[in-house]
């Protein structure tokens, strides 16, 4: 039985190239770089495609975009933005809410590279989980930032928001913003696994709220093939979202419906048995097990491969 399992293991590793195992990671790095390049083409090369920063921008002098969290902070202080700001807000809110709220976190946000790297190091060093804040903490932080804004009448959180500090730093000049970014990196590596994006960031919380009814979903369609290698749990920045879909039985939906899922596609990348795939929220189809696959959920096979990463 053990040899059988190992055979299956080497077999599945052989047929999946490195590129295939990192395809969504590579795609995401490309979009993150592209977004940054669009912002930098102006100041660096004089090609003005996008002006401003992720908090509020103007593309080709026609398309305004504004970050919901930033405008929310402004509005709770009692200030009403100009029409361009409100249009930009509407476009961003509607697009993310329809397509996938947390696409921002994994495909756009510059901090994602930092926290992903921190997590990579965390795994390499085989560190303990560390402090794991309770699951609603990010909403508490969100409420806190808004309360402070309302109480102080200023965008207080923007003085320390590492996400906007980083992006503004890259586009306009860093100052000491790198220190805030370094703190997030160290925090995620040594203090709390997935601590920042996965538990605290109030910006991510807002995009998470937009993610509740989004179209784009990950489906554990092929969950019957899962051999419990735990690779997806290991790599997923929000791994509590996986279980209900993957461990579902019978008619339970294979869709990952939790709003915390960032649609990063890492679970698709790492799964050698192609359990996961991108789909839309109405596709609840399951792939029926085929006889060729080695016995799924075979307790002995599971045990033999359990430690394998």
């Amino acid at each position: 039985m053990t040899t059988h399992a190992l055979d299956a293991q080497s077999l599945k590793e052989k047929k999946r190239s490195w590129v295939l195992r990192n395809r969504f990671l590579l795609l995401r790095r490309s979009t993150q770089l592209l977004v940054l390049a669009l912002f930098l083409a102006g100041p660096w090369a004089g090609v003005w495609i996008v002006k401003g920063t992720l908090t509020s921008s103007m593309t080709l002098n026609i398309l305004p975009l504004s970050d919901p969290f930033l405008l929310l902070q402004t509005m709770v202080t009692g200030h009403w933005p100009e029409l361009t700001g409100l249009i930009g807000l509407a476009i961003v809110v509607v697009s993310y809410a329809v397509f996938g709220g947390r696409l921002y976190c994994s495909w756009v946000c510059p901090m994602n590279v930092v926290t992903d790297s921190a997590n990579w190091l965390h795994r390499k060093l085989d560190l303990k989980k560390g402090w794991q804040p309770k699951k609603h903490t990010r909403y508490w932080v969100l409420a806190m930032t808004l309360l402070v804004a309302a109480g102080s009448g200023s965008l207080a959180y923007e003085l320390v928001n590492p996400v906007t500090l980083l992006h503004r730093g890259l586009v306009f000049g860093m100052g000491f913003a790198w220190a805030a970014v370094l703190m997030v990196f160290l925090f995620d590596t040594f203090v709390s696994r997935h601590g920042w994006c996965g538990h605290l960031c109030p910006m991510g919380a807002v995009y998470g709220l937009l993610n509740t009814k989004s179209l784009l979903r990950i489906s554990a369609k092929n969950r019957e093939a899962c051999d419990d290698c735990m690779d997806c749990f290991e790599v997923c920045p929000e791994n509590h979202v996986i279980s209900p879909a993957l461990r579902g039985k019978g008619d339970d939906t294979p869709l990952i419906q939790h709003r915390d899922c960032t649609s990063c596609g890492r679970c698709i990348d790492v799964c050698d048995l192609d359990v996961f795939s991108f789909t839309h929220r109405f596709d609840t189809q399951l792939i029926q097990p085929t006889s060729i696959e080695p016995g799924p959920r075979d307790p002995v096979a599971t045990k033999a491969m359990g430690g394998h990463k």
Binding site: G42, W48, K51, G52, T53, T55, S56, S57, M58, P64, S66, D67, L70, L71, Q73, T74, T77, G78, H79, W80, P81, E82, T84, G85, G88, P133, K134, H136, T137, W140, V141, A143, M144, T145, L147, V148, A149, G151, S152, G153, S154, L155, A156, Y157, E158, L159, V160, T164, L165, R168, G169, V171, F172, G173, M174, G175, F176, A177, A179, A180
Partner: protein, 265 residues
């Protein structure tokens, strides 16, 4: 029995939940306190940092500006910059300029204001001459060349509102006794605070500087009345029947000029 067990369990769960919530709330309260103190400190705007045209009052500005930098990008003269974290300047990320580096050129179409998506730069400002970024103050009469009796005039000549915001006012040069001093004099109502004068001052350190209005201006008491204005308004003497004694004017004859042409020097 099983019912009892159930409620016992759920109440333990509830206790734990409440405990967790209380802990998180306390953590957030601590963070909120730090943030409040920090933002209070960061509210201080240095006197040489000038907000773009149309900026709301500092208090309102800090509640409106999302620190996006769109105003910076649309300024054709690269006047504006965003404050970086750690620099002793305005609140991190907010736009400002330093007149001595690059002043505001007072663009007619005010692109910085048009670009602002939040209205932190007030869109009701449509005539740049109405801008109120600060007020120029001739801060050092001891070093200003015009006050020393020369005709530098540079700050006066560069002013976009020449003869309105800044005028040359002639007074006798008491040192030479026979020349005039053309003192550059700023009229605060007209001055926009663009900083062109401060930038242009020929001295190594400018003798004329743009300051925020709160520092540059005094405030007249509300009940003060200027007698001559009231008189003009009323069209006649305010207290009728008062004898108008002749004003005492310094005796012109007592002023002996040092240089007297025709006196054979």
């Amino acid at each position: 029995m099983s019912d009892l067990k159930k409620t016992g369990l759920s109440s333990a769960k509830r206790r734990q939940f409440l405990g967790d919530a209380a802990r998180t709330a306390c953590g957030c309260a601590v963070a909120a306190t730090f943030l409040t103190v920090y933002q209070a400190q960061a509210k201080a705007l240095p006197a040489d940092a000038i907000r773009p045209p149309g900026a709301l009052t500092e208090e309102e500005f800090l509640s409106a500006c999302v620190r996006c930098g769109l105003c910076v990008r649309d300024c054709p003269y690269d006047t504006l910059k965003l404050a970086e974290l750690g620099e002793t300047g305005p609140a991190t990320g907010t736009p400002y300029f330093t007149a001595r580096d690059v002043p505001c050129e007072m663009c007619e179409d005010i692109p910085c204001v048009a670009a602002c998506p939040t209205g932190a730069l007030d869109h009701s400002l449509t005539d740049i001459d109405d801008a109120d970024m600060g007020v120029a103050v001739l801060i050092d009469q001891e070093n200003c060349l015009n006050f020393l009796g020369l005709r530098c005039d540079v700050c006066y000549r560069v002013c976009p509102l020449i003869d309105e915001a800044i005028k040359l006012e002639m007074t006798p040069n008491t040192r030479t006794g026979s020349h005039a001093v053309f003192s550059p004099t700023v009229y605060a109502d007209a001055c926009t605070g663009c900083g062109k004068c401060e930038k242009a001052c020929v001295l190594p350190e400018s003798a004329i500087k743009v300051l925020p209005r709160r520092i540059a201006r005094a405030e007249s008491a509300e009940h003060y009345r200027l007698g001559w204005e009231e008189k003009a308004k009323a069209g006649n003497a305010l207290v009728p029947g008062v004898i108008d004694l002749p004003d005492r004017v310094p005796d012109a004859g007592a002023f002996e000029p040092v240089f007297q042409p025709g006196k054979g020097q």
